[in-house]
């Protein structure tokens, strides 16, 4: 079984005096999982990471890479973590390192995929840089590069700006 996590990070700046947009319009929230690992066969977990920003008008990722992991403990980002339950089921958790209690954000059965997104902000109230994080997560038998391109996620969570993990 394989866990596939795709993180799409998009950054944009709101110049002084302009209204902050709700989202960076038109940037992708799902991508093909490419390039595939060299040997094609993966067990454990895959993290596909892509970043978009203003430098090329969001036409293509400014950074993109794909890494494989043997252990889910290495897939840890800003307090988000993953846990495999015996049911079997993949649980997406919000947990700070020194806390023993985790908040369960979503549970994915085999073959399902979920999308979690949130935004962060850096700067002054009227002149800020925003970063949007979109996580597409699935738990399945094999690596399908187009898994996130078909249909819609079975589970969706959008955290508001004030409740970023």
């Amino acid at each position: 079984m394989l866990v596939v996590v795709q993180l799409i990070k998009t950054r944009w700046t709101v110049p002084l005096g302009q209204r902050p947009p709700q989202l960076c319009q038109g940037t992708p929230e799902r991508l093909s999982v490419m390039p595939l690992p060299p040997n094609g066969f993966v067990q454990g977990a895959v993290l596909h990471h892509a970043e978009f920003d203003e430098t090329n008008a969001y036409t293509r990722p400014t950074r993109a890479n794909l890494r494989t992991y043997s252990d889910l403990r290495h897939l840890y980002h800003n307090g988000l973590g993953l846990r495999l339950n015996t049911i079997p089921q993949l649980e997406v958790l919000l947990r700070l390192p020194e806390q023993t209690i985790s908040t369960s954000l979503m549970q994915l059965a085999i073959g399902e995929w979920g999308q979690l997104s949130y935004k962060t902000r850096f700067g002054l109230e009227r002149e800020a840089t925003y970063t949007k994080y979109v996580f597409n997560i699935t738990y399945r038998a094999y690596l399908d590069p187009f898994v996130f391109m078909r249909g819609s996620p079975q589970h969706t969570i959008h955290l508001p700006l004030e409740q970023t993990p």
């Binding site: 700046t13 950074r63 307090g79 390192p97 902000r121 850096f122 700067g123 840089t129 970023t164």
Partner: protein
């Protein structure tokens, strides 16, 4: 608030070609430590209205400041020129609350003269104290252009810390200068970009090779290296093992894989 990794130093507002970005040793260290599952607390002087983007694993303790440290970096290949547009208020060690004395790792990260001295060891009696001395190895002229400056710590000052990290750029490649500091500080490292790092353990020198990386953005690599080295040593690794892991994490940082 976490006392496992306490970082004291300026978070910065950096002017780039595409707008403002958050910088400072604390920014890159906190993000890397979050990826390793480690909570941090950052004590920084910063303007009250500036909102920082830090992982939820970080707690920010903001000290009142007339300004937030504001830098501009320009890269040409591996070389960087830097300007300081605003300097924060200086921190007075006498004003630090006793609560912080329980910290188990303290990372001193001066960038813009917000810290001017190494604190006495008794201020953090239980901590491994690491210093990234970058901010004490430079000064700025009236236009804000940053220039190298000679830092001349006394043996007594160096004895207050456990580990010191500088880059070869900070010391203009003066290995002998760093080796001299290593006579008075048990653990010293000089990071050397794509050439890895040189470390001194009780004044004995060793080289650690870099990991291959496709450079996406070199910013923050030295900060990640230092955080990784301090953290691993505090967790019980040997200085050499910790330096190897630090080189690996720095390679991930510059290739954009440490997220």
């Amino acid at each position: 608030m976490s006392l496992k990794y306490l970082l004291i130093g300026a978070l910065t507002r950096d002017r780039t070609a595409t707008g403002w970005q958050q910088g400072g040793t604390g920014t890159f260290a906190a993000r890397a430590l979050a990826a390793w599952g480690v909570a941090t607390t950052i004590i920084t002087p910063a303007h009250a209205k500036l909102i920082f983007d830090l992982p939820s694993t970080s707690t920010l303790v903001r000290l009142p400041s007339r300004a937030t440290a504001t830098f501009e970096n320009r890269y040409q290949g591996d070389a960087r020129t830097q300007w300081l547009h605003a300097a924060p208020t200086q921190l007075d060690w006498a004003n630090l609350a006793p609560y912080w004395q329980q910290a188990s790792l303290v990372h001193l990260a001066p960038l813009a003269q917000e810290l001017t001295t190494i604190p006495p060891r008794k201020l953090f009696p239980q901590a491994l104290i690491g210093l990234t001395a970058q901010g004490w190895l430079r000064h700025w002229d009236s236009s804000g252009r940053i220039q190298p400056k000679r830092w001349q710590p006394t043996p007594t000052e160096l004895a207050q810390i456990d580990a010191l990290v500088v880059s070869d750029e900070d010391v203009a490649g003066d290995v002998q200068l760093v080796a001299d500091w290593a006579q008075h500080c048990g653990l010293v490292a000089m990071t050397q970009g794509s050439r890895g790092a040189t470390i001194w353990v009780n004044a004995e020198v060793q080289h650690v090779a870099a990991y291959p990386a496709q450079v996406s953005d070199p910013t923050g690599a030295g900060d990640v290296w230092a955080a990784a080295w301090f953290w691993r040593i505090q967790q019980g690794s040997s200085a050499l093992q910790a330096a190897d892991w630090a080189c690996q994490q720095a390679a991930l940082q510059i290739s954009g894989q440490l997220i």
